[in-house]
Symmetry: C2
Subunit: 501 residues, 2 copies
């Protein structure tokens, strides 16, 4: 069998995997949007079964043989094929260490925990959720033991989201962030806040929906391949680069929640929609890592969407949709309003300055759960203590505390650190972007094609062909440096809250 | 290996099949509701791949061995297990006659044709759809040749929807209908029509949505397991008996479209939601056949929903939601308005009397395509000629003619006759129901629990355990007899349009 034929087999195998991904992502998407509550258990069973089928497909002896043969001749392969074989073999090696039953058990437990979490959060009932959380922690500990018994559990878990991410590096990263931001946050708390009565609403939901559409068009999201839905927690899921779903949520008394959710999820969607043609059916046809993905959502949401220039673009549209609220408001007032920095309870609604502290708290809690002896039952207490210590806020209930995010219910431990890392990536990428592209000019004209083209050329098109480190190096001309992030925050919030900062 | 162990394997196999069904039904549902247009090709690829995976699963040598061994000891099996093995073996025998590539090609062609049909119908552009239709007809002809080369193609196709349905029986059935209804329809056309200005609207969409919810509650549909969505063509799809989706469509100038779509699809949903516990993960856990399924949607829609008694229940709700339109309207006037009999263009909006003629036309066209030499390209002309001959109406464009229904785009040839058959089943089942249950009393109280209980006891709970013929015999105490249907139509429309009929 010649190389060409082997490559054909590799492509056929990937096409199958993509079909399972499409189906399972849709099942999960439907579960979070339309599914009636009674369907939750059956959905868990379906996901469990399909994850077992996918496991068999990925670990089949003939696939192993194919991948090993391709690896032998890797120097004869084009870059894409070589990377495909490499990634598939890496994933196969990972899966072969874990019994199929454990993979299925995780899928099922995560789906059931997610259904429970939705109710538990609504009722602020941590006790109902605790057994699920405990079970997931146990499964994940066993999982890490299968994968790399010689490594710290938490390092193994983080590596699944951002390859190579480990406690040593993240301790340094968060240490730097913490020492830079803690005094800044303290000073902001003492500084006065601007008065922003126009943000109090009410903001009619139908008009907010019109705003969502405008935002998608401003960003240049292809509406024939991307649709916006509603869910309790905004999220993005991709079935292919031809079909990406984003969600938001509407509340009459809050405009910024929807506004920045659409831009944030739109940034994730833009990445997936702009992956190169050749990767349509490839396992490499998705974002390079969770942190790189988050860098793209944050870049659009914060570095562009919360800029002074973007507020100039946005204001006339807000005046048109909500004349009662925004008549007489200046772009500078809007800019200050969407950049209010103040310690708060909810991560997804946090301002840019205090956001990393929310992630730091989760990082420390996850470390304590997987590396120390913190039990699931003790998490709410520890959570509340941390919020008091780091942000100076009192958590009134678990719904606004430990139960606020969906990730742990999905078994995603070690995911949160990638949020802070991605936001820091974004600062460095944005710095490089501004050297080549007139972002301020894009805000003036409302045409972001130059931004999209630059990001496509540097990052989007490659999917997983390059590693996060390679992408940063190629895009920015140097290795990742959190200094860009710290400098950005210091300058932005220094100007907003006085030169003293 | 003992029988118990084999039964366990049979159950595990069915659970896998149900997971594929869940995923593929959801993919199709999403394709008809939320999917952006750009996702259509990728969806076709995913469905093609998964249908191939399902083919492999159903025809695996170890499954064949299991089914044959269970068949050998069938007298030792309980009824459900025996029937499961029987149905799985029957389907396996069917699939083993057809190459896997043909099964996948059909799935892919149907998905692509459905996407094309949506646009073609919008633009009344038969020419765009014709190549897809031709391709599907060719695939289906080849398919029938694989399955039973000795049988007429159309008999093979009809048998897939209603086991044993064939042209000989259906010729007799439609012949009887045609000779009874043609003079009736002629007389109705000559009789005067009641004046029903209150049906002209406008009917606010938000209020129509409220009506949909009321109707679901009146029927007693479990809202934790059944949700209503929107689509161009109303339909029902079930992922499991814990999760059934129905759709409707809203237009401001038409109330009855939504009203009877919800009741019709609600009838389908009720059936699926009421299948017995033991069949949750069984291949028998769905309706007995398409005609039996249709009997249940039609029973709720027409025999209950279009009855005089139901109009009494409905009217106060309509007056509440649409006071401008319905103030001063009597229940008798509403009853006449929802039972206007007049030849029309659109099958799904046809009255009970002319409905069977729509099906007859399709039956004759399908017969001519698969048994004669009618070509896809000649279908619109033949369609229009038939509508003139049988219903006396001129078809103004293909959107309201040959392109109106989705079925052929999905490769569903031989499906339509089951609609007429199901409606005739419903007449006979309703006759039996009325002997045991005070349906008029249910309309008075608004509590249809007795109807649901009777239908569950007689039909719903059994899923596919009994054949359609067995179900009719058990429920009605005699074999299927289309006389009930003809008598019902003659009496109802005789009274509505004068004793002369």
């Amino acid at each position: 069998m010649g190389i060409e034929e082997k490559i054909g087999q590799l492509q056929a195998h990937q096409k199958k995997l993509r079909a399972y991904k499409h189906a399972m992502n849709l099942l999960n998407y439907d579960g979070s949007t339309l599914m009636p509550s009674g369907g939750a258990d059956y959905l868990s069973d379906t996901l469990e079964t399909l994850s077992g089928e996918e496991y068999c497909l990925r670990t089949a002896p003939e696939v192993r043989e194919l991948l090993l043969k391709l690896t032998e001749v890797s120097e004869k392969l084009d870059l894409q094929t070589r990377r495909e074989a490499e990634e598939l073999l890496r994933e196969q090696n990972r899966l072969l260490r874990v019994p199929k039953e454990e993979v299925m058990a995780l899928e099922s437990a995560a789906s059931r925990a997610t259904a429970c979490w939705q109710e538990a959060r609504k009722n602020s009932d941590f006790a109902a959720f605790a057994p699920h959380l405990e079970k997931l922690i146990e499964i994940k500990k066993r999982y890490a033991g299968y994968i790399a018994p010689e490594k710290p559990v938490y390092d193994v878990l983080m590596d699944d989201y951002e390859r190579g991410m480990n406690q040593k590096d993240m301790d340094a990263f968060f240490g730097e962030l913490k020492s830079a931001l803690t005094p800044l946050i303290g000073q902001v708390k003492e500084a006065g806040q601007p008065d922003t009565p126009f943000m109090e609403g009410p903001f009619d939901t139908a008009r907010q929906k019109a705003l969502s559409g405008m935002l998608m068009d401003i960003m240049g999201l292809d509406r024939t391949r991307c649709v916006l839905g509603e869910s309790a927690h905004p999220f993005t899921t991709e079935f292919s680069r031809f079909d990406v779903r984003i969600t938001t949520r509407y509340t009459e008394d809050d405009l910024t929640g929807n506004l920045y959710s659409v831009i944030h999820e739109g940034g994730h969607a833009m990445y997936e929609l702009s992956i190169g043609d050749a990767l349509s059916y490839s396992v490499l046809g998705e974002g390079a890592s969770t942190a790189i993905h988050e860098s793209q959502s944050r870049l659009w949401e914060n570095y562009i969407g919360r800029s002074r220039e973007f507020c100039h673009l946005l204001l006339p549209k807000l005046k048109e949709l909500f004349p009662a609220q925004f008549s007489g408001v200046t772009a500078e007032e809007l800019y200050r309003a969407v950049n209010l920095a103040r310690p708060s309870l909810i991560r997804t609604e946090a301002d840019e300055l205090t956001y990393p502290m929310h992630i730091l708290i989760r990082y420390e809690l996850e470390k304590a759960v997987f590396g120390g002896d913190l039990k699931a039952a003790d998490l709410p207490g520890e959570w509340n203590r941390s919020y008091r210590e780091y942000l100076g806020v009192d958590v009134p209930d678990d719904a606004r505390g430990i139960l606020q995010d969906i990730h742990w219910a999905g078994g995603d431990f070690g995911y949160f650190p990638s949020y802070a890392l991605g936001t820091a990536y974004a600062a460095q990428i944005f710095d490089a972007l501004k050297q080549d592209v007139g972002v301020a000019r894009c805000c003036e004209t409302g045409d972001f094609a130059p931004v999209r083209q630059w990001l496509t050329e540097k990052i989007y098109q490659y999917g997983m062909i390059y590693t996060p480190a390679q992408l940063i190096e190629r895009t920015c001309g140097k290795a990742f440096d959190p200094g860009f992030y710290i400098l950005y925050l210091r300058e932005k919030f220094g100007r907003l809250y006085g030169a003293g900062l």
